[in-house]
Amino acid sequence: MSTAPGSSRRLMLKGSRAVISLAIALAFLFPLYIAFITSMDTAAHVFVYPPHLTPDFNFHPYVRVWHMGRWMMYFRNTVFIAFTTIAIALATSVLAAYALSFFQFKGRNVVFMLVLLVLMVPSEALLIPNYVILHEMNLLNTLWAQILPFGGSVYGVFLLRQFFLSMPEAYWDAARIDGASHLRFLWSIALPQAKSVLFTIALYIFIGSWNSFQWPLIVTVSHNVQPLEVEVSRLMLAHSVDWRRLSAAGIMTTMPLVILFLFIQRHIIRGVSRGEGINE
């Protein structure tokens, strides 16, 4: 067959593409794997050269690191901060987006521009003044200091407004004829349809909040209001040679996000494809 050389060449191209792609994927997983192995090393197996690549399945470092800090408390703080931020940011952006799409009033676009203006203000310009403001409000070193500054989500308003504007106006007209108020319409008709948008916004706030480090580092000093990342950084500075326990702490705090990601990666990939970064 005359097509044989061409098709075998194509097959080889296909094969090498698959192999190189796999190598790249493994390279991205490798640093997590190294931490995983190190977290399970036996004491004699850490400082060996060359490094080994198979886990010892020794869970002792996890037990040890678990007893080194009040992990449940840091975990609770992290979850509380994330979920409260999500609740507040969703509430404020739903109301604002609704007003910007279902109410007719003069200057509606100006108001929307005022919201978008926030995107122009870089976060590092706000670092010190927000610290001063929280100081003046007596909120430094509290869980709220890590929640309230993120209570207004421009990104949330933007996405929800876009969604609400795409809803047929006839829905609202019909609801009003049935005597529904704006709040009633929002709650029982508009929001249920916006579920997937709400989920995307919540997801991004969750990841950003779980991974935030600089802000909690700045505004908190007491352990009992700090999130996981700050505790891990403290362990890093205090036990810089205890690789097994540090790695165990790293794996422990990374795993919840990795598991979450593997379950809902479709959502995340769709969000990223639209060019939405995660606020860190």
Partner: protein
């Protein structure tokens, strides 16, 4: 006639009624924006020009003295140089690698969907927690990176302990963490390129490289501009990874002191607030300036469909 009230009101009547409600709906959002964005944006300017102290000492007007102090402080210039050099490594590396990987894995199958998932995975991991594994990989004595280099008979490195290699090492970590974001964006841009154009060129006998250079790349250029701007902003704001990989110090010998780390140290370790605020303003101006320059350059070569 009771059902008269059900007749839609005129737009004007509705608007008068709606204004009050609209204000109520907008109020919570604007309360947050006012307190935590508009107000602090103003305060940051004030802080730059006044000497502010947390503990009751009177605020005094300092004029440009804090800016002057920043501009004559040698560590500020070191931090500026580090930050710009870091951006210089990161921008081309990010764009080239993202395009290369995206073109490679731009295939419709479950296999490549899985590859894409793994490439994006590091992006959602916490920086401090995942930098631990990297610190261990960078370890000059026991780390895997030197072990691999040695196995390949290549010169080994001191990585984070070497003043010249420390910043590139941080860049390596950041590429690992953030490249997936860029790859996914390029993939979605590739999906929007009309297939017929590329196929027509192939029928006309254009080689794969020519098709890439003449068709794919120009059509990708708006996306690449977006990524250049996003990467520039992200690298100029580098903090967590530098903090984690240098033990919060920015060393060795200030080699990894970025502007934001210096601002953090000045403001929150030494509590020179006004000084830190004036450096923050300079950083903001730098970001703004670079974004404008990139926008201006882009008008010359970005191809819009």
């Amino acid at each position: 006639m009771p059902n008269l009230s059900a007749v839609p009101r005129t737009a004007r009547a509705r608007s008068r009624h709606d204004v009050l409600k609209a204000v109520l709906f907008l109020l919570p959002m604007f309360a947050f924006l006012l307190i935590f964005t508009y107000l602090p944006a103003g305060v940051s300017l004030v802080l730059g020009f006044f000497h502010y102290h947390l503990l009751g000492v009177n605020t005094t007007f300092g004029g440009l003295s804090d800016f002057k102090e920043a501009l004559t402080y040698s560590v500020f210039w070191t931090a500026l140089k580090n930050t710009l050099l870091y951006a210089l490594y990161m921008i081309p590396a990010t764009i080239i690698l993202a395009v290369a990987i995206a073109v490679l894995i731009d295939q419709k199958s479950r296999y490549y969907a899985m590859i894409r998932t793994f490439v994006l995975l590091p992006y959602i991991t916490p920086v401090i927690a995942t930098s631990i594994g990297w610190l261990w990989m960078f370890n000059p004595q026991y780390g895997i990176l030197n072990a691999v280099l040695q196995a390949l008979h290549l010169p080994t490195s001191q990585w984070l302990l070497s003043p010249t290699m420390a910043m590139p090492s941080v860049a390596l970590y950041t590429l690992w963490h953030g490249l997936g974001f860029n790859v996914v964006i390029v993939l979605s841009a590739l999906a929007n390129i009309p297939r017929q154009v590329v196929e027509a060129a192939a029928i006309d006998g254009a080689s794969a490289w020519t098709r890439f250079r003449q068709i794919t790349l120009p059509l990708l250029s708006p996306t690449l501009l977006f990524l250049v701007i996003v990467t520039t902003i992200a690298t100029l704001q580098a903090f967590s990874q530098v903090y984690a990989l240098s033990g919060g110090q920015g060393g060795p010998e200030y080699a990894t002191t970025t502007l934001l780390l210096l601002i953090y140290q000045t403001g929150f370790q030494y509590f020179h607030f006004s000084y830190a605020a004036s450096m923050a303003i300079l950083l903001v101006l730098l970001i703004l300036g670079l974004t404008l320059v990139q926008n201006w350059i882009s008008k010359r070569w970005v191809f819009y469909q």
